[in-house]
Subunit: 240 residues, 2 copies
């Protein structure tokens, strides 16, 4: 009987180690993605072609991480049959992986726009619109990973609130860019590259919000993917 308990204890310790491992690797991937996004924004701001190229190269590593960690999650499901919060952790990690990979894709799109802007020559003055949104979105990404690491639903709520602010900033920036285009038809192609880059940043913000929602799912056991901010707040504060 003692041996059997010892055996169960070993299994459970191994299982916990495996869960910790996939979570840690997902967060590492998140750190890389955060840097890719920041680098892509800097590549646009500073007309840095070398940095843009390194973002493009770095995407493969992120894609490989997604596949490898997702495979590890599938193996855990197949071998360990996790239940309750362990199952939710594995599912939340696979969902977060997907969001991180998509953020990485958006970073490569921004890097491609940086390269096109550099090829185009003169940088449109509206490039500054990118810095503010870029900083804001990078902070959201960092916070979303942080709330996943600490399972902090209050911080998850703040990430969702920031996403609303980012959406507003994005809409304002887009209106400004339309007026630039109207004032100078020759700038249209260049301004479009800034527009698409802003759009990508706005999408990165959406994915950061998604990760925050996976944290709420993990901690509260409730799928909150399509609820509004008020409802999200109510569910987080319900039954504390």
């Amino acid at each position: 009987m003692v041996d059997k308990d010892l055996h169960s204890h070993h299994i459970s310790a191994q299982f916990n180690a495996e869960l910790d491992d996939v979570k840690t690797r997902m967060l590492e991937m998140g750190g890389l993605v955060e840097r890719q996004v920041a680098d892509s924004v800097n590549a646009v701001m500073n007309s840095d072609g070398g940095l843009a190229e390194s973002v493009l190269k770095g995407d493969m590593r992120i894609n490989n991480m997604e596949v490898a960690i997702d495979e590890e999650c599938a193996l855990i499901l197949a071998r360990r049959h996790p239940a309750a919060s362990d199952l939710r952790l594995v599912l939340a990690i696979t969902r977060a992986l997907h969001d991180l990979e998509r953020m990485g894709d958006e970073a490569t799109k921004i890097a491609e726009h940086a390269i096109r802007l550099i090829d185009h020559g003169e940088m449109p003055r509206c490039v500054v619109e990118i810095r503010h949104l870029g900083n804001h979105v990078c902070m959201m990404v960092r916070d979303s990973l942080d709330c996943f690491a600490r399972l902090d639903v209050e911080q998850a709520l703040r990430v969702a609130q920031e996403d609303k602010a980012v959406d507003l900033e994005y809409a304002t920036a887009m209106r400004t860019l339309v007026t630039y285009m109207m004032e100078d038809a020759r700038s249209i192609s260049a301004v479009l590259n800034i527009m698409w880059s802003l759009r990508s940043l706005e999408r990165v913000g959406d994915h950061a919000r998604n990760i925050a929602e996976h944290v709420v799912y993990l901690v509260k056991g409730q799928d909150v993917r399509h609820v509004g901010l008020t409802e999200l707040e109510a569910r987080i504060h319900d039954g504390r």
Copy 2:
């Protein structure tokens, strides 16, 4: 012993019925999403505000389906501990659900652009660019669901090939729209609505390709999310 076999048989028949059920419901959701995309394109083409509104209303139903079917998948994982191809089926369904939900979101974006274009008044002549891409992408969505229903990896490969064609069509259409903008600065706002709609259609095509890749994962047991077309073809035809 006979009773025990009968019991196992019951369990396994129930399990199969549950797997069939989630698959069927996912495909039903897919049918709805396909209609949402087609309706959103028609709303733009025909300046049909009523149709655009119905797309916006229909999105909630799709979101609810995603959450409900995903929850059913999590329950199957928790209760049935599926292994091998059964596990891959459940994981492929949860991934496909996510892609379908995203397609539904893109349809609502197109519907919103339709409403803005109607409010704007005069429809830009480049609205025709949407019909061709819209038809092509809707066909891809239908084919991706069809190959999931029949677990047909050859058709999955064709969907991935179509996505390449859609990306080229999209790039050509975008260049055309830039020239429209340059020729008539007053049309910029209206043409941007067409551009964003085309972008959304191109994204729907990407998601259809993703679903085709989930089918390859399901049938071949290989994650092909980031491999190129040539490699995809090699993996599908490898070891037949």
